[in-house]
């Protein structure tokens, strides 16, 4: 996609077109014609009642699953149904979940290096990137600590670093502070917004927290299997 210098709208990085997804052979119809456009650098809060399909949509956008009907395009490239999302996961999108999903018994540093090992990144570059991210998230003094030794907030910040290690342009966050207490949640979210803004990353975040959602650039509601955007 080419953009003219004076284009008022930034490029589209995420595009879901009439996406349908059901489980148990159609018995549970979750997404029923979802259309969504994500622009570069914006922060989007994805709200909606529990079970409405927020996580499902994030998984589809990140290539972890494929829609029954409809198309998903990331960075202008359409995802093949049940194709191999390796490049996507290694270089284009980062995931943060409600549970930190870090590997116990490994250190903070080792956990963060996993995506760089997967992608075959040069070790020096990987370490530089790790330093950069841990400096920003205030974790540089805990590099050698095992995951079990970290607090909830530190774990979630570690997960954030890990998701951004390979410099993806898109961050998909599924209730990233959902398991933290209010003040820690606010602190982690501040950091998240700061880094995302700093790196120009597009954020799509599923959340139940209206206060957090309100701080995002855009808020979309998911209801009855499709997206409603209050303007």
């Amino acid at each position: 996609m080419t953009t003219s210098n004076r284009s008022p709208t930034p490029p589209i990085v995420l595009l879901a077109t009439d996406v349908w997804k059901s489980y148990d052979d159609g018995a549970i119809a979750v997404l029923r014609g979802v259309n969504f456009t994500g622009f570069q650098g914006e922060t989007v809060a994805l709200c909606g009642p529990s079970g409405c399909g927020k996580s499902t949509l994030l998984h589809l956008l990140g290539g972890l699953d494929s829609p029954d009907i409809g198309r998903i395009a990331v960075n202008s490239r359409e995802l093949k149904p049940f194709g191999n999302p390796l490049h996507l996961l290694r270089h284009e999108v980062g995931f943060v979940f409600q549970l930190h999903n870090l590997i116990p018994d490994l250190t903070l540093e080792e956990n963060c290096l996993i995506p760089t090992v997967a992608a075959g990144l040069d070790r020096k570059a990987a370490r530089d990137r790790l330093r950069e991210l841990t400096d920003r998230t205030g974790l540089s003094h805990r590099l050698g600590s095992k995951i079990q030794k970290l607090s909830g907030g530190e774990r979630q910040r570690t997960a954030l670093c890990r998701a951004l290690m390979n410099k993806p342009r898109i961050l998909l966050a599924d209730e990233p502070t959902g398991s933290l207490d209010e003040s820690t949640s606010a602190m982690v979210f501040d950091l998240l917004l700061e880094i995302v803004a700093n790196e120009g990353v597009t954020l799509v975040m599923a959340t139940h927290d209206r206060t957090l959602a309100a701080r995002c650039g855009r808020l979309i509601e998911m209801r009855d299997g499709s997206i409603h955007e209050p303007f």
Partner: protein, 370 residues
């Protein structure tokens, strides 16, 4: 580095489980090493008997066991007279038992035999052999377990012999054997006029094909083989070796099942972790490498421990007096290599299903497990 760390971390998380599978491989490797080495040693010893100062062995065609081979004395005389032959020695094998020893190998030989010439004599002299049909020479071990010395009478089978000499040889069978004059042995075993084999030394090695051809022509019922040819083709040796590898292989199979079990547990209890790795960009190949790496590490570690245990066990066997001279503790490098490769192969095979399973884990589903 992280790769190795992931593997080692997982092994350390379940120390007991890892130790059990390492032990499984170790014990089967130890068993395999011991059995193969002992049997190979035995085979070498036995072929050593035949090849002492000779290049060729002649025996009856198509016998399954040299104890059943019968070579007429007339053939010995004829072959001895061939100009290319330096010496041809008839040997009659027999098995006898004494009161406290179920199996003693008996060698019926002539006084010119290389075994007597080359041995170091502890008691008596070579000249004493053959004069008295009842006079036998004992290997040192045989003398020990029969508590016999030169001049004493020993009971062998249902007859009494007197000891005219004691010799020390490096070969376990010979050292635990009894050497009788050929004619006495023929009478004792009711094999008058024949021997089991003829061992032949030629004046020149180049004449080996000629000798083989001559034997084929003159004695169609006999066969002449070079020593290594014999060792390779003798069916008893083949059976022994095959048995050794089969028994060892079964052990390794059990060890492999242990590894398979461990790896299945390792994957099943780690589904979420594997899903996380996938989400972070690990390819199915990288996941498989991790699983195979884990089992390979267990196997190689097990193999090394097993080799140590096996070697220690062989040395322990060597110390048992009754096995003295029969156990060869020199482990052949080729055996070590084969054993390690087999262990590695077993480990990899055991990890096949778990690895395939692991690569098929779907991150979306796995991440929904809490």
């Amino acid at each position: 580095m992280i790769f190795l760390k992931l593997i080692v971390t997982n092994l350390l998380r379940h120390r007991i489980r890892s130790l059990i599978s390492i032990a499984g491989i170790a014990f089967s490797v130890a068993a395999m090493l011991t059995i193969v080495t002992v049997l190979q040693g035995a085979v070498e010893m036995f072929s050593g008997i035949l090849s002492s100062d000779s290049q060729i062995i002649v025996f009856e065609r198509n016998v399954s066991d040299l104890f059943f081979s019968s070579v007429p004395s007339e053939a010995v005389q004829t072959i001895s007279s061939w100009p290319i032959v330096q010496h041809a020695d008839p040997v009659l094998f027999g098995i006898v038992s004494s009161s406290d020893h179920p199996i003693i190998t008996c060698f019926g030989i002539t006084d010119a035999d290389a075994r007597l010439r080359k041995a170091s004599w502890i008691g008596g002299t070579r000249e004493d052999f053959g004069k008295d049909p009842n006079g036998v020479v004992l290997g040192q071990r045989a003398a020990e377990f029969m508590s016999a010395t030169v001049g004493k009478t020993v009971e062998i089978g249902h007859a009494a012999f007197h000891v005219v000499g004691v010799i020390k040889t490096a070969n376990g069978f010979e050292d635990g054997g009894v050497f009788m004059p050929l004619s006495s042995a023929q009478a004792f075993f009711h094999k008058e006029g024949s021997s089991s084999v003829i061992t032949i030394k030629l004046r020149s090695k180049e004449d080996i094909p000629e000798l083989k051809a001559s034997v084929r022509r003159s004695y169609p019922s006999l066969v002449a083989l070079e020593d290594e040819e014999f060792t390779r083709s003798y069916s008893q040796f083949k059976i022994l070796k095959a048995t050794a590898w089969a028994v060892g292989g079964c052990g390794l199979l059990l060890g492999g099942l242990g590894v398979a079990n461990t790896m299945i547990m390792s994957v099943f209890t780690r589904i979420r972790e594997i899903a996380i790795l996938r989400v972070n960009g690990f390819s199915p190949g990288q996941i498989a490498t991790m699983i195979f790496g884990e089992s390979a590490l267990v196997s190689v570690f097990g193999a090394v421990v097993g080799l140590l245990i096996g070697t220690a066990f062989l040395f322990a066997l060597k110390l048992i007096p009754a096995l003295h001279g029969y156990v060869d503790t020199s482990v052949q490098p080729s055996v070590v290599v084969i054993v390690i490769l087999l262990a590695l192969m077993t480990g990899v095979t055991g990890a096949l299903y778990p690895a395939v399973y692991a690569t098929r884990i779907r991150a979306v589903e796995a991440l929904r497990f809490e």
